[in-house]
């Protein structure tokens, strides 16, 4: 990385190259302003984020891998079994899935909304080959390669549609594919309404809505993985291998061709890039990774259940990929940490409370400019809440009759600030509606008006949180927040948090 002097914008001329004789303003063939200035733009990053980004750039790739995954390797030794499963193992599984999806969406630019079906397919196929439910008990060294190859073939089949279909059409076909998969596994239990297959008749393939249970632990050459810690390291090693592989693929011919395909399929085709083959390759790669992850997930859960492989998971994985940045390999690990870690913290309501108010306060502090406005907002919100609480307590005693359950210090303080009606159901519903409207109004107003609107909005958010959202932190609330996050990130940074901004050719 050679820094370019500030006083020489425009194309980089190699040292010692003869200066072109004609006038410097003439457009030059073979150079592009935007490409030539990429180093300068990178150097121009300001503040802490710029410093971190530059430091990150200087770390050699093996070091980056170690920095990203090293903390994961230490994690099992400082935590208990339950936490290791929920925070550690699931995060790595999500990261692995997200990396596979990133190849399809981030590298090749194909919007595959059926991706989760491959994950489910892997888990079910492994379950069919090795479980008490099906009666077969294949060793992992036979079953896992079969799963990976057949998932890749399934990916090939689905990928074939991408030859003829453009972006959005492909999205709907793949989404329908996922739906078809879910319907199939929900019903293929050899029951009354099920298919009668040629030659074999009715077969209980998936156990229907009850799921396919008693899946064997992975048994590699007679060595059974039985503990969570075992699966954790197994998955972590797989993640490291896949990331390394992708790093090399990304800088190879194929990787460059994928990026060309993503940026402009037509131009890539004209440059005689084998577009169709590359699309299939991306689909197959993604599917194989998902299928492989499926075998782990099935074995860990010792069962495969249709509800696990539905649109909810699809959104989660998409949120990870987008947070991490489309096309960024390391980003997905961070994305997975955030997307899986935060809702897991939400699971206990007092943790959730700290997280919720913490994020609100931080968002106000970072997003408001100049800095004193954020202080005005925070102080204003506290005073506003106290005033509202006092007025309501004086006029409508039921409005403050409720209490926060299992409250800590923060909860007791909030008892005197947030309105907690004794029967909050209906009013909280309307408040939720009002909160959405207020949040939307915030995006329109400017200047001091924003401060004025923000204060009641924050109070409303706290009210809705305590009276409504906190009830379903692991279910609907989680997905509501993820959905809103997707919309907000797309509006603020369409390339994702760690993704690089792209050139849009007009």
């Amino acid at each position: 990385m050679s820094p370019v002097p500030e006083d020489r914008p425009g194309p980089i001329v190699p040292e010692g190259a003869p200066v072109p004789p004609d006038e410097p303003d003439r457009p030059r063939v073979g150079t592009d302003e935007w490409v030539a200035q990429v180093e300068q733009r990178r150097e121009a990053g300001k503040g802490l984020t710029g410093v971190i980004a530059r430091a990150w750039e200087r770390v050699p790739p093996p070091g980056r891998l170690l920095l990203l995954l090293g903390p994961f390797a230490i994690f099992p030794f400082i935590t208990n079994e339950g936490n290791l499963f929920r925070y550690g193992l699931i995060t790595i599984i999500y990261a692995l899935l997200a990396i596979g999806l990133n190849v399809v969406v981030g590298f090749a630019g194909l919007l595959d909304l059926g991706y989760v079906a491959f994950f489910g397919f892997g888990a079910y196929l492994y379950g069919i080959m090795a479980s008490g439910h099906s009666g077969h008990h294949l060793q992992a060294e036979i079953a896992v390669p079969i799963v990976v190859v057949s998932t890749a073939l399934l990916g090939l089949l689905l990928g074939l549609t991408s030859w003829r279909l453009l972006g959005d059409y492909l999205a709907i076909v793949t989404l329908f594919f996922l739906q078809a998969f879910v319907i199939f596994v929900n019903n293929a239990n050899g029951g009354l309404n099920d298919f009668s297959y040629p030659f074999v008749g009715k077969v209980d393939l998936t156990g229907g809505a009850n799921g396919l249970d008693q899946i064997d632990p992975l048994n590699w050459f007679g060595f059974k993985i039985t503990t969570t810690r075992g699966y954790y390291f197994y998955t972590l090693i797989a993640l490291a291998l896949v990331m390394t592989m992708l790093f090399f693929v990304n800088s190879s011919r194929t990787g460059r061709a994928w990026r060309a395909l993503r940026e402009d399929p037509l131009a890539a085709e004209v440059m005689s890039t084998p577009v169709n083959r590359l699309k299939l390759l991306a689909f197959m790669f993604g599917a194989a990774v998902a299928g492989f992850t499926g075998t782990i997930f099935g074995a860990v859960q010792s069962g495969a259940f249709p509800g696990d492989y539905d649109v909810g998971l699809l959104i989660t994985i998409y949120a990870i990929v987008i947070l991490g940045g489309l096309g960024s390999i390391g980003g997905v690990v961070i994305g997975a940490l955030i997307v899986n870690g935060a809702p897991e913290l939400l699971r206990s309501s007092s943790n959730a409370r700290f997280l919720f108010y913490g994020v609100l306060v931080l968002a106000v502090l970072f997003a408001m400019r100049p800095w004193y406005r954020s202080l005005v907002v925070l102080a204003g919100t506290v005073l506003f809440g106290l005033a509202v609480h006092a007025i309501v307590a004086a006029t409508w005693s039921r409005g403050t009759a409720g209490h926060i359950e299992g409250a800590g210090t923060l909860g007791r303080a909030l008892d005197h600030w947030v309105l907690l009606p004794s029967h909050p159901e209906r009013i909280a519903g309307w408040a939720y509606f009002a909160l959405i409207v207020a949040a939307l109004v915030l995006t329109i107003v400017r200047g001091w008006w924003r401060v004025v609107v923000l204060i009641p909005t924050l109070y409303l958010a706290a009210f809705v949180w305590e009276n409504k959202l906190v009830e379903q932190v692991s279910g609907a609330t989680r997905l509501i927040l993820l959905g809103a996050l997707l919309v907000v990130i797309m509006n603020v940074r369409p390339a994702g948090i760690f993704g690089t901004a792209r050139v849009e050719v007009v």
Partner: protein, 315 residues
């Protein structure tokens, strides 16, 4: 598994009528997809959830009017009010979604508004789940207007509700066709869909046309949602996903961007689903799989749909 019995006309006509009823609902959803796609080239994933919210708004209007057992006005008037309120509310919702989730992304890469739409969809769906719970709500159509079945000949039966659904949907489609063909706004819509930049240069307020399109499309989806509630009685917060998928399939099968295509596609999907349920192996649970097979087949034969015009890509 029922065997194929070509002489069972009662089953045949039964499936035909229920296919047309379903199809008219799908067609209404498909119209919204196809109009938005025609103008913005955007797949509006949230459309199915707008349909669901339309069904819920109508349900709460019915409760507000006194419920199906003792409505404040006569049954048919109650239904008319339900349609009107749901359509207006969802029209406004559609305009809001466009304003806040899609408009800021006009200049972004193609994938950004799609993901934003996915976010809106999951947001609406789970908001409904949070506010109204996962349980089924019953419109109580039987109590509200009574269900009568009319017969033509020995085997052909059709109920007043099915007649209502099919005729309201065809009526709305005729109105839409007239709006697009005859009014100034319709003309502007056609112009924007043909060439947005040129339309803008001719002095057409493109943002307003897009808002109008979202209003009309979302209102039609809401009408579809109310019809679903009236025909099947039960509505639930997750109903939007599958219906949206079918609606989009209908739009694509008919040729996305083509309004007659959306109507044709809607009826085709409805009929496929009904006949698959009646005649094909495993049809009662796997009807959607057959719809998927139809979608794939049509894509392989005609990637731009039945009535779609071939896509000319500009570089």
């Amino acid at each position: 598994m029922r065997s194929l019995a070509p002489l069972n006309w009662s089953l045949f006509f039964g499936e035909l009528v229920s296919g047309l009823t379903l199809g008219s609902i799908y067609a209404l959803i498909a119209l919204g997809y196809t109009m938005v796609y025609g103008i913005l080239k955007l797949l509006n994933f949230a459309h199915g959830d707008v349909y669901m919210i339309g069904a819920f708004v109508a349900f709460f209007v019915l409760q507000w009017l006194g419920g199906p057992l003792s409505p404040a006005v006569t049954g048919w008037l109650a239904i008319a009010i339900m349609f009107a309120v749901a359509m207006l509310a969802c029209g406004a919702l559609g305009v809001g979604i466009e304003r806040f989730a899609y408009r800021p992304l006009r200049a972004a890469p193609r994938i950004a508004p799609l993901i934003s739409a996915l976010g809106v969809s999951i947001f609406l769906q789970n908001s409904a789940l949070l506010l109204w719970g996962p349980q089924f709500r019953d419109y109580g159509t039987f109590d509200l207007i009574g269900v009568h079945s009319y017969s033509i000949g020995k085997n052909f039966f059709i109920s007043n509700i099915q007649i209502l659904t099919i005729s309201v949907s065809i009526g709305l489609m005729i109105v839409l066709a007239l709006v697009i063909a005859r009014t100034r706004s319709g003309k502007a819509m056609r112009a924007v869909s043909f060439d947005r930049e040129a339309a803008e240069m001719m002095g057409i307020d493109v943002d307003r046309v897009i808002s109008f399109t979202f209003f009309v499309g979302s209102a039609l989806a809401a009408a579809g949602g109310v019809m679903f509630g009236i025909v099947f009685g039960q509505i639930f917060s997750l109903m939007g996903f599958t219906a949206g998928l079918k609606g989009f399939t209908a739009a694509v099968v008919g040729g996305i961007g083509s309004i007659p295509g959306a109507m044709l596609g809607g009826f085709l999907i409805g009929l496929t689903e009904a006949f698959a349920t009646g005649y094909l192996p495993g049809g009662s649970v796997y009807a959607n799989l057959y719809v998927f097979a139809l979608l794939i087949t049509i894509f392989l034969v005609r990637p731009t749909g039945l009535l779609g015009s071939p896509v000319i890509r500009k570089v």
